[in-house]
Amino acid sequence: MTQATLPGTDTPPTAPHRPARIPVRAGWRVALLGGLGGVALLLAVLAVSLGSVRIPVSDVVRAILGQPTESPSWAFIVTEIRIPRAITALLAGAALGVAGLKMQTLFRNPLADPHLLGVNAGASFGVSLVLLGGGSALTGGVALSTVEGIGTVAAAALGAAAVMAVMLLVAALIRSTVIVIVIGVMVNAFVLAMVDMLVYYAQPEAVKTFTDWSAGSFQSVTWQALPVLAGMVLAGLALAVLSVKRLNLFLLGESYAASLGVSVRAFRWTLMAGAALLAGAVTAHAGPIAFLGIAAPHLARGLLRTADHRYLIPGAAVLGATIAVAASILTQLPGSEAVLPLNTTLALLGAPVVTWVLVRLGRGRGLEV
């Protein structure tokens, strides 16, 4: 377990300490956050303007304003594909960044991310039942018949919710955070093993469809689904903002947090529920999105040089959104007829950047959560 350090210091606390007092560079951090937010919005505008189909900027503007475009398809592409995709990327990036931050703080582990809650595993299991169950010798079609008719979104949501419920129950019953995290790993392994069994016995073509879903996609979300996704993400982000003070106390360890009046078990449950809500909403709508949950918090710590959640929560949200939108643009390889899988693009784009930031800004300081 990584030793926590106080915001703005290099040394672990030796006594209860008031965390997160606004440091002298508060104004700089706020400005940086504002700048990063601007970058995210600029990228979102680019995401609407750029794509596989070359649409003149004037027609993009006309499409947004609801005016006819030179080709009727252009308006449709801009309004029905690009804008929802950009908004989804912003929401998903922000949600996974914050969910990852909460998980890393909760478990005080730099490698923690929403996967530990079993969200992806549960969602994958739900979707695998729909896509693979009917073709599996294991289920003899029974599984398919029970879930047939519900879409992949609903199946993913149900699967994720089921596994999250187990993990939340575990979190409520078990006092030790370490045991909770180990049980999380076990639950994940168990659920993914069931998915593997379905995949193993499924038709190759169905496996391909499932693999497609597993690659993740921001363009899965339509205007009809967007309000649900946005509502869940905003609710999850609001919960995170409300948890700022207690998250900062958690940095000092559960004992200190408890001594300062935090109900550790209840707060842990709340944190997990909030992270699960954020990650579950994204996974259900866009498929399992890797990398953002673990990368955005580290990038935020590296750029903002603080462990203070007052900055880290908006930082992880904005940086997650920025990476997600950038990846969304790259997946479409503007101007070409080729596409890249989202998760691959996210890792290809983000991993070197995060590594560079961590090496450059965190040299010699170790990885701190």
Binding site: A137, Y200, E205, S220, V339
Partner: protein, 398 residues
């Protein structure tokens, strides 16, 4: 006059088939009793006229079959080198595997038991020798009795042909226990197949699904090499080819060539389009249509959804060769991906897909004339009035 000629031709072909088979001269049906050096044991011969995947050369008592390396379609496929097979006549000595035969797999023919692991040769077995089929790739749907595969379906139903797993999930023990002389596979793990070879099973790599329509129809010829059923295969293929080319000529004369969107996508996913030399685009062109996308090659290509929407919106038809599932309706498709409402071919009732993906793969491939007839009747209804669809279906509104 024509009927009489056809009947005579068919009779001659059957006689020729009987004369060519060495069954009459052996106690072990199909085997030669005594080897006669210099005798041509295979008077009936086939060759791959369209397929580029295989070629055969006939010697006196054996056939040298060469199969080109197919695409790497499996994670476990560790060997993609071209393969040679020496199919030697039962009752004659196996040739020494030296010189041009070095490295070849020797298989005694005619085979009595065979396994169709990719389950794409079931149609060929139906035409040639259903009794030889002992096992099949256990794909869902293969078990379903189908009018196009009555004899094969019966064998599957009464379990005289059993499932052996499929693809990389092949049940090696079950295969060995069945004791086939040959197993057809599309791809696989060389180490595992080597074990089958040590157990006396000749593993033959061949994928008719990776062919043009007439190339896939030559799967019947390919199988005939193992059953010594060349005459029957030639009769089948000749008839199929004749009808196919006749239909192609008819469709080519149609005044208009409707634009057809070919490919699939689902909820939020990008478009998976077959390239020009793939089965379905070839069928579309031969049926007097033109594909919306011009994609050189013979693989599946992923295209962005927005390209599909822009170019596909004005297509007159959507040929949606889905891999899985049956009975998709416009309503279900739109529930999954509402933005496909932009594809007017779908919403206006001009969407078509495979009636049954498995039967399409198994029986449709060796009867591409029927596939073509289905497509011609959809694209140019006036050319085939009253035609009943066999392997394709119109996507209903739901």
């Amino acid at each position: 006059m024509t009927r009489t000629t056809l009947a005579l031709a068919a009779g001659l072909l059957l006689l020729s088939a009987c004369a060519g088979a060495p069954a009459a001269e052996s106690g072990d049906a199909g085997c030669a009793r005594n080897h006669e050096p210099g005798r041509d044991y295979f008077p009936d011969k086939v060759s791959a006229q369209v397929s580029k995947q295989w070629q055969v050369g006939y010697r006196q008592n054996y056939k040298l079959l060469k199969v080109n390396a197919g695409p790497k379609t499996s994670l476990e496929q560790t060997d993609t080198a071209p393969r040679s097979y020496v199919l030697y006549q039962c009752g004659t000595p196996a040739p020494e595997l030296t010189g041009e035969l070095a490295g070849a797999t020797a298989i005694r023919v005619p085979v009595r038991k065979a396994i169709d692991n990719p389950a794409t040769l079931l149609g060929a077995f139906e035409v040639l020798a259903p009794e030889v089929l002992a096992g099949y790739g256990e794909f869902p749907g293969a078990e379903t009795a189908d009018k196009h595969l009555p004899q094969v379906s019966k064998r599957i139903t009464d379990k005289t042909a059993v499932g052996v797993g499929h693809g990389d999930k092949l049940d090696t023990e079950r295969v060995l226990n069945l004791g086939p002389q040959v197993m057809f596979a599309a791809s696989g793990d060389k180490a595992r197949f080597d074990k089958l070879g040590q157990g006396g099973v000749g593993v033959v790599f061949y994928d008719p699904f990776n062919e043009t329509p007439l190339g896939s129809a030559e799967a019947v010829k390919f199988l005939s090499l193992f059953t010594n059923g060349e005459a029957k295969a030639t009769a089948h293929y000749t008839a199929v080819e004749f009808r196919y080319r006749e239909l192609t000529a008819k469709a080519a004369a149609a005044p208009a060539k409707p634009a057809v969107l070919v490919g699939i996508n689902g909820h939020g996913r990008d478009f998976l389009a077959p390239q020009n030399d793939y089965l379905e685009p070839t069928l579309v062109r031969d049926a007097g249509g033109r594909t919306v996308f011009d994609l050189p090659g013979k693989a599946l290509q992923r295209l962005p959804m927005e390209i599909m929407i822009e170019r596909g919106a004005s297509a007159e038809f959507w040929f949606r060769p889905d891999f899985v599932g049956k009975g998709a309706t416009v309503k279900k498709i739109l529930e999954g991906e509402p933005r496909l409402s932009r594809i007017t071919a779908l919403t206006s009732g001009k969407g078509i897909d495979r009636a049954d993906p498995r039967v399409y793969a198994a029986a449709g491939l060796v009867n591409p004339d029927k596939l073509l007839a289905d497509l011609v009747s959809v694209l140019h209804p006036d050319l085939l009035p009253g035609h009943q669809l066999s392997f394709l279906r119109r996507i209903e509104a739901g």
